[in-house]
């Protein structure tokens, strides 16, 4: 096995119109077992994936949004959300799920997983990656 690589999953689409969001999450969960440096990015309509209070009962589709709150347990705790994408859609951080992880190096303190970044900062984060999965 080579050295640890920086893997980023870029989520660009709303959660239920297409299957990309759900199948992206499936890759993240499987990929977590490979002990790489993993982060997630949510841009454009992808920010809707993290909104709280999702109710899919009217469309007869599985509501997979609770799965995001389990990411911390998989040591997936770098979740970058683009500020402009939220603003353009009339959303704020308060509309998103409160995603946390427990830091074992800090007496299991609960810490926020979501990092709100500007479009320019997001570009820098993307540029640092070795592998970009684009969903």
């Amino acid at each position: 096995m080579s050295d640890i690589k920086k893997f980023m999953y870029v989520n660009r689409r709303a959660p239920y119109g297409t299957i990309y969001a759900w199948e992206s999450l499936e890759v993240v969960l499987i990929g977590a077992a490979f002990e790489q440096d993993v982060s997630l990015a949510f841009i454009d309509d992808g920010v809707y994936q993290l909104t709280k209070g999702q109710d899919t009962s009217g469309i007869d589709m599985k509501n997979f949004s609770p799965t995001y709150s389990a990411l911390g347990d998989y040591e997936v705790n770098k979740i970058y959300v683009e500020k402009e994408s939220l603003e353009e859609r009339g959303l704020t951080l308060d509309d998103l799920q409160h995603l946390v992880w427990e830091d074992e190096d800090d007496d299991w303190a609960e810490k926020d997983s979501i990092r709100l970044v500007s479009r320019a900062e997001m570009a820098d984060v993307l540029a640092e990656q070795d592998i970009l999965f684009n969903f």
């Binding site: 690589k5 077992a33 490979f34 999965f133």
Partner: protein, 130 residues
């Protein structure tokens, strides 16, 4: 350079599977190594041998099978995506009680770990999709 290719869209509906094929072929001709081609989302539909395009059109599936035979390519179809979309090999037919298979020659069905491994083992992961 060692490459892993990810194909995210189905044949004919999207150009991505055509582009992925042409890229893979060109990379091989230039002497690059293709570690793996991984088919995900509707991309799994590139691996059904039951496809029957009109005679005057390209055969996207057959083209992949032929390239695989020629270069000993590892064409991997994601099992979870395949189960949703009905791409079946002997093992899957037996496990899930299906009465038929449709996987094309040169393809195999395996897990998402194969995609992650491709990313780890290759110099570049090149994604073709929407």
């Amino acid at each position: 350079m060692k490459l892993t290719i990810q194909v995210n869209e189905g044949p004919y509906q999207h150009q991505s599977s055509d582009t992925a094929y042409h890229f893979t072929k060109a990379a091989l001709e230039k002497g690059h190594e293709i570690f793996r081609v991984f088919f995900y989302h509707d991309g799994v539909n590139n691996g059904t041998r039951l496809t029957t395009p009109p005679q005057d059109d390209r055969n996207v599936v057959k083209r992949w099978s032929e390239l695989a035979a020629e270069h000993d390519l590892d064409l991997v179809i994601c099992v979870a995506a395949a189960q949703r979309r009905g791409i079946v090999d002997d093992g899957e037919a037996e496990r899930n009680g299906k009465d038929a298979t449709n996987i094309a020659p040169g393809f195999r069905i395996s897990g998402l770990g194969q995609l992650i491994e491709g990313g780890i083992q290759s110099d570049r992961l090149v994604v073709f999709g929407d």
